[in-house]
């Protein structure tokens, strides 16, 4: 008997439980699988009866609008976390991209006399390009020098806030055209918030990438077992650099939405976003170890967080109470997910 012999007994047992599975067991498997969805449904049901004005179309759309900015970043973060990495620098990218957009809108307008309606587009493009560059840089340092992305992006978080502060010289930049406000604060048909539409569009895009493209499959493969993926001829470095770039671009989108809502660019935007975003992804069932996670799960996690905060506001809870409850619920959700992936 060699030491590394597999135990045929246990594997056979698992194979069999997979085959059999009575009705009760099926129910258990499904409850386990959709535990967060069930909790969310229960939460909505209870709140519909207890919180005033909760179950109205306006309020539900409002919830989507409230989560949309961190939400777009969360879908980028989902890809990063599935690939086994993390990006802590997204909060500062939110600040920097708002600042860059506002700064270039004003500067190009003043220096070349172009109308702000046009220069804002150039400003946005620059914000996206800079964010993509920051992401590629994160990915390059991560893969070239094998420094954990946690450290690389922590450094980037500080650096980008620094740059944003240097550009604004601590004063918000407000040179923005009127139409820009529509992006973050406008409505379609008078009821549907535009940022909520952007959120749904990005969700669908990431959903298709993760489920239907070879690139999505490669992200799962790299996160699940990097060495096996490499030996299967997957370009691990390319995958990691691309996802680190994509998350930064979603952060830039988030930053543009924030600056459009308040019609200015400031280095104070986005503080602490990274943690809320990561919380939503983790509540959605992704594993920080990589390889696990779903865009749908992230959407559930986002809505879950949004509803709790919304309900607490409707119930007139204090800011401190809200923090306490949110913290406990994040912990609870993660515990439930760990049960979900545990073996019977």
């Amino acid at each position: 008997m060699s030491m590394e012999e597999d135990n045929p007994g246990t594997s056979m047992a698992t194979e069999q439980t997979f085959k059999k599975g009575g009705a009760a067991q099926l129910v258990r498997i499904y409850v386990k699988k959709y535990i967060m969805e069930l909790i969310l449904a229960g939460l909505i049901f209870i709140l519909a009866f207890t919180a005033p004005n909760f179950f109205t179309v306006t309020n539900l759309l409002n919830i989507l609008r409230n989560v949309s900015i961190q939400g777009v970043i969360a879908f980028g973060m989902t890809m990063v976390i599935i690939s086994g990495e993390i990006d802590l620098s997204v909060g500062s990218t939110v600040a920097l991209s708002g600042v860059l957009t506002a700064y270039f809108t004003g500067w190009l307008n003043k220096a070349y006399g172009l109308p702000m309606e046009t220069t804002v587009l150039i400003g946005m493009a620059i914000a996206f390009i800079v964010a993509a560059g920051a992401g590629l840089f994160n990915g390059f340092i991560r893969t070239q020098f094998r420094i954990p992305s946690f450290i690389v992006t922590l450094a980037m978080l500080n650096a980008l806030y620094g740059i944003a502060g240097m550009i604004t010289r601590s004063f918000p930049i407000t040179t923005l055209p009127l139409w820009y406000n529509k992006l973050g604060a406008g409505y379609v048909f008078g009821v549907i918030p535009i940022p909520a539409l952007i959120l749904i569009a990005l969700f669908l895009l990431v959903l298709v990438i993760m489920n239907n493209t070879s690139f999505g499959r490669e992200i799962y493969a790299v996160g699940g077992n990097e060495e096996a993926a490499r030996l299967c001829g997957i370009n691990v470095r390319k995958v990691k650099m691309v996802v680190m770039m994509v998350v930064q671009m979603t952060a830039a989108l988030g930053g543009i939405l924030v600056s459009s809502q308040v019609m200015s660019g400031s280095h104070t935007f986005g503080k602490g976003y990274e943690l809320n975003v990561i919380a939503a992804v983790i509540i959605g069932g992704a594993s920080l170890g990589g390889g696990r996670g779903k865009p749908w799960g992230t959407l559930v996690g986002l809505v879950f967080l949004g509803i709790i905060i919304n309900a607490m506001t409707l119930l007139n809870m204090s800011e401190y109470m809200k923090n306490l409850v949110t913290g406990l619920l994040i912990l609870l959700a993660v515990l439930l997910n760990s049960i979900k992936y545990s073996k019977d």
Partner: protein, 495 residues
Amino acid sequence: MNVLEAAHISKEYPGTMALKDVSVSFESGKIHALIGKNGSGKSTLVKIFSGAIEPTRGRALENGRELKFSSPAEAFQEGIATVYQELSLSPYLSVAENILMGRLPRKGPFVDWKSTYAMAEEQLKRMKVSIPPSALIAELPVWQCQIVEILKAMSYNPKVLILDEPTSSLSVNEVKNLFSCIRQLVSEEVIIIFITHRLEELWELVDTCTVLRDGELIGKMDMKAATHNDILKMMFGDVEVKKRTREVGGSDEVLLEIRGLTRGNKFQAVSFDLRRGEILGVAGMLGAGRTELLRSIFGADPFDSGEIRFRGQKITSHSPLKMKRIGFALAPEDRKQQGLNQIMSVKENLTLAALDRLTRRSFISRKKERELAERQVKDLEIKVSDLEQPVSSLSGGNQQKVVVGNWLNSEPKVMFFDEPSRGIDVNAKQQIFQIIWEQSRKGISSIIVSSELEELLEVCHRILIMRSGRIVAERRSDELKLEDLYLLCMGASEK
């Protein structure tokens, strides 16, 4: 004098007898070797002594007293210490801390460093070795780590010390140093049992040699009277090596040329050719550089010098991705860590290497994906109830087939198999061989690395023998006897 004894021990597993009525005794003051091929039952016997498993019949006795332990920890407390080949030391703690782990002397609430070092020094003296007790484990060469591990066990003054292949990762010089230290322990009243695969070590270290074959005790010999031939005969008996079916043959067309390939101290100046449809084996002991060679050719690791030519074309800037594209495949040694994605389903694992083949404009075709996965499940007879089943729920043999099936989907021209039969049952093993032969008939070449020499003789056309990073011999497998192959791998001079 202390005596450790096995009295009529049998161990049954479903379908196999790991040990059949083994009776043997080991006295203190001597070093006893326990040898046998893979699967001979030597690990099982050691595990019974150390309390990891219970015998089906028979008893283990120590000075006539029966040994019955509920766990290895209990066995350890009762004086049966086992040192495994994987080290269990903390690399960033000192030698002294490792030896005295969990029972550091204290002065009040603080560690008494002076007596810690003094106590460690005392232990180090037992084996007459000069390692500073304050040195970090990470700074020591591997053989000294082995010494620390042995001393850690010895510091509990065990009655039995079992050394499970302590030399498998050591160089020749390191083995010499380790042995002279182990010799120091003979004067103490401890029974030392030494498990090894390296035959030549027997004459250097041990006093007696106990041979197991297929779960049976073949004999116990005094090493002074034993010759190489005696030991080999005891280990192998008169086994009939199965031959592959005749019709499987290679062609003359050279597909792959390796010239002077060198990677640091892993392997040096390796040159060979691989023909179309040929099955080439690479034999050698653990640490001979076989796995490293395969990985470097496949682009998983770099190499320092030499060249690789495929169909006459020199391969530059090679990586697993590039090698896959020109038709190479690698079923790695460690299935769980390197071959499979345990989170993914059987279907996803079967189509990972061939992802390019099932996408159109980077969109995955579900239909194609299912087709490819189903084809391998059918061809390789992989036992699954559902393609969506997680691959981690399969048995070892079926997991190995998934690894192979994944690569077959990429339609390779040359396949590398690193220890393809490790940890899988006899049936699955034969099925894997059938697959390799089937590929050979289709003109696909294979290179197989295996520690099971019989297996190489059975499957391969030709065998390269590696020793300490070099190819030292090349033989046709139908002209080679098992004992001769073993001797070639050992590099033992005729005694």
